[in-house]
Subunit: 148 residues, 2 copies
DNA sequence: TCATAAACCTATTGACACGGTAGGTAAATA
DNA sequence: TATTTACCTACCGTGTCAATAGGTTTATGA
């Protein structure tokens, strides 16, 4: 189960991406209000996001939080892993890794491994920008009309 | 995270499939010993499995547990769901379903839905028999050699 | 009929995670 | 120097996980 931490973190990222949070510092108060999430609780979350190199924080008047990369340079997987730890389906595959004495004869381990890979790929291939509201595309100066 | 309940249940199923547990009752003691899992804890698990129509239990001497279908008629997903409840990635998709007031404007819901479908398919397409030790195939009486 | 072997039932436990709340400190700005 | 903001520490109620403990019922077979 993805917990509120992961889900809220994602919403913070999206909020920043959609509110110029790539260029200017956005106060947490604003994010909390837009997202209807307790600001106090969000403090905990964004703190982890700063530690995890997803955001930069700036204290004082005019401060707030800002993306430290361009939105297209984030993928969902890394955001979730910062908040939830490794996205591992079973304890056999996380932690000390190979502490299970049955690992060599385990009938289910291959399935868990396959599952883990699938999940990892799913979230790492999903970009933050895939979650943004589809914006009316500003046509680039030289738009080639697609063939069909 | 798949908990021990789900993982142990799967191992019980495999154990039965590999120890004639489709035809005769196998005492829990034997399963617990082979699987090196506390019998006491397994009691809780198999109880749920009986309730969930995965196993049949028989009390008294000569009793034990038995698969109620043929091994090839189980898939992993249903076994896990009996033990873990619905395999839902986020609370937004389980429970009362549409209690979230933001569901219509939520940017992340489509991703969670897509993810849930992927997970569901993965486990429901996986058959119990896919987890069994590959057995030296008893050649059927009329084995057609594959072309290539 | 009676010991035995098995499932079945109820209760409890310690540890930990989840989802917060509360209140204060430090830093930057105007 | 007041204000706005991030940042820090502590706490808390609830629930789940992974068991353990001890007893009761049911069926067999000698």
């Amino acid at each position: 189960m993805i917990t509120t931490k992961g889900r809220y973190a994602l919403r913070v990222m999206i909020d920043l991406a959609e509110n110029n949070g790539h260029e200017v510092f956005v106060p947490l108060k604003d994010i909390a209000e837009r997202q209807e999430i307790s600001k106090k609780y969000l403090e905990i979350i964004v703190k982890d996001m700063v530690t995890g190199n997803l955001l930069i924080g700036a204290s004082g008047k005019g401060g707030g939080y800002k993306l430290c990369r361009k939105p297209e340079e984030y993928n969902v997987g890394e955001i979730l892993e910062v908040m939830e730890g490794k996205l591992s389906s079973v304890s056999c595959l996380s932690g000390d890794f190979n502490d299970c004495p049955r690992r060599n004869s385990c009938h289910t381990l291959p399935m868990w491994t396959e599952y883990d890979n699938m999940v990892h790929n799913f979230f790492y291939e999903k970009k933050l920008t895939d979650l943004l509201k589809p914006v009316a595309k500003t046509p680039s100066r030289k738009t080639k009309k697609a063939k069909a």
